[in-house]
């Protein structure tokens, strides 16, 4: 094992971003402390603050204006949840009547026991036994997919999994990218024709797994079949997809089903070796 290792300084790194060169029409960019306007008829939104009657930016990004509301949006930040977003998260804590979930947000999100579908149907009553059984449903370290139900004033999120789409995640790969790279679209659950399923969590957590058959899962997604053997070909496809996603994220391309599929098709020309 004597391989040459090259260590480069950050300034000598190859720039992998694929910025479109010909395009020169940049929107104006604001940096912290820069004055946006001195007129006080505007309302200050996120990323701005008022100082001596001047509206100043507090983050580096582009301006967004809605009527009188001016905000500056950073191009990269922690996940800012919105109601209805599909997220992938990891359970960090089991508490009385609720789970704490890490969703890459500013604060840990909450998944109340009352907003999950327990086995046994929609109208099941939640008893004290259920509270004691909470760790049997979801325990620390488990991955779940969920939807944002509510955003509290301090910025923490409340989640729900009251649909057959959501629930505990079984066998698969999780990839973490910056939340700003996920394109918001109508659906974040994709069954790709290459034989895998993708959950593009808007919080930057992406779940890659073998095709899910929704008809089988009628209990509400707390079953985790770890005995099932995923065929090698599927696993190879999953790993390749993971690498494609990481490559796209490295060059700061937006991630959505088409871009991932295109990257996958493109990567097929590169063969891999079995070690």
């Amino acid at each position: 094992m004597s391989r040459k290792i090259y260590i480069r300084l950050a300034t000598d790194r190859v720039n992998t971003s694929v910025a479109i060169e010909g395009l020169r029409a940049y929107p104006s960019i604001y940096t912290p402390g820069q004055i946006i306007t001195n007129q006080n008829e505007f309302m200050r939104g996120h990323g701005t603050y008022e100082d001596n009657g001047l509206l100043k930016a507090s983050v580096a990004g582009v301006q967004e204006k809605v009527n009188n509301l001016i905000s500056v949006r950073p191009l990269k930040s922690r996940y800012n949840g919105e109601v209805g977003d599909v997220v992938v998260g990891r359970i960090t804590e089991v508490q009385q009547k609720r789970w704490k979930v890490n969703t890459n947000s500013r604060l840990d999100s909450i998944l109340p026991l009352s907003s999950v579908n327990l086995p046994g149907g929609e109208l099941r009553r939640r008893s004290v036994e259920d509270e004691h059984m909470m760790r049997n449903y979801l325990q620390e370290g488990d991955l779940i997919s969920a939807e944002v139900k509510n955003v509290y004033s301090d910025g923490s999120l409340s989640l729900h999994t009251r649909s057959l789409k959501y629930g505990k995640l079984g066998q698969g790969i999780m990839v973490k990218v910056f939340p700003s790279l996920i394109k918001r679209s109508k659906t974040h659950f994709h069954n790709l024709p290459i034989g895998i399923s993708l959950i593009l969590g808007t919080n930057g957590f992406i779940w890659i797994c073998p095709i899910i058959n929704n008809t089988e899962e009628s209990v509400g997604g707390f079953v985790q079949n770890l005995e099932e053997v995923v065929p090698e070909i599927t696993r190879a496809t999953m790993s390749r997809t993971r690498n494609c996603i990481l490559a796209l994220a490295q060059s700061k391309m937006m991630l959505f089903d088409t871009s991932i599929l295109f990257a996958y098709e493109e990567s097929k020309s590169i063969t891999y070796q079995n070690y």
């Binding site: 950050a10 983050v59 580096a60 582009v62 191009l75 990269k76 500013r106 990218v177």
Partner: protein
């Protein structure tokens, strides 16, 4: 005093060929790593520093430290064992590193708008890869860039610069290691250059108080110069990310 005179030659050049009020070359890069929320690298002359920012995130470890009205800022300064002439024994945790961490924390909380993130924590990790004078300013500047990269709201840029006094009357800025060991007082200033507020002021030796205003003035000028360089780098970085993501407007 005879040694001090050598700091600047008769024709006004310093040991490394700079003029008295000239900065060393600054090269920087934002968004190096994918794991932290923000990261930056800065080179000031031969001094090289890496910074990484995690957060704002849920307070980990001691839960009672969480504040209901502001975020807590956690700074860690470390020097790589190979960063100095002699190999260092401990990269962090010694007296000097702890002091540096405290000074960094003091400067950063003045710039970060902590009141926006109740119950949260922001971690700033700074690592010196090559120490060649002006370690603290380089760390402050790197941390500022990393915070901006992480999208954390700042009041404005936080910049730091060193200044010294040569031949007892010529102020000079951005002191290198060579000049540091030759003697002469070193004044370290961390400031918010746009509003001209001084956040941290530290002096290694004494000079007459009459000289302080002019040395401080030149150090603040240095901070403004550094701010302009950083601003350019930040704008380039935003432009680059924006053009590859297609300015991803959600609205």
């Amino acid at each position: 005093m005879s040694r001090n005179r050598e700091l600047i030659s008769n024709i006004g050049l310093r040991l490394d060929g700079r003029r008295a009020l000239e900065l060393r070359r600054i090269r920087c890069k934002l968004g190096l790593f994918s794991e932290p929320d923000g990261s930056a690298y800065i080179e000031q002359g031969l001094t090289k520093v890496l910074a990484a920012v995690y957060g704002p995130h849920q307070v980990r470890g001691n839960r009672s430290k969480a504040q209901h009205d502001c975020a807590i800022v956690n700074c860690q300064f470390s020097m790589a064992v190979f960063s100095t002439g002699e190999r260092k024994r401990r990269p962090r945790g010694d007296r000097k590193s702890t002091e540096m961490s405290i000074h960094l924390h003091q400067a950063l909380i003045a710039a970060i708008k902590v009141e926006l993130y109740p119950w949260s924590q922001i971690d700033v990790y700074v690592e010196v890869l090559h120490a060649d004078g002006g370690i603290y300013p380089a760390c402050v500047n790197a941390a500022t860039l990393a915070l901006i990269d992480a999208g954390i709201p700042l009041k404005e840029y936080l910049c730091a610069c060193t200044a010294s006094l040569a031949s007892n009357d010529i102020p000079m800025i951005d002191i290198s290691h060579q000049e540091e060991i030759m003697g002469g007082p070193t004044l370290t200033v961390a400031a918010l250059p746009m509003s001209g507020k001084v956040v941290l002021l530290e002096m290694s030796q004494r000079f007459h108080v009459d000289h302080l205003p002019k040395v401080l003035d030149k150090a603040l000028k240095g901070c403004i110069d550094i701010k302009n360089i950083l601003d350019e780098a930040v704008k380039n970085n935003v432009r680059e990310i924006g053009s590859s993501t297609g300015w991803a407007s959600s609205t």
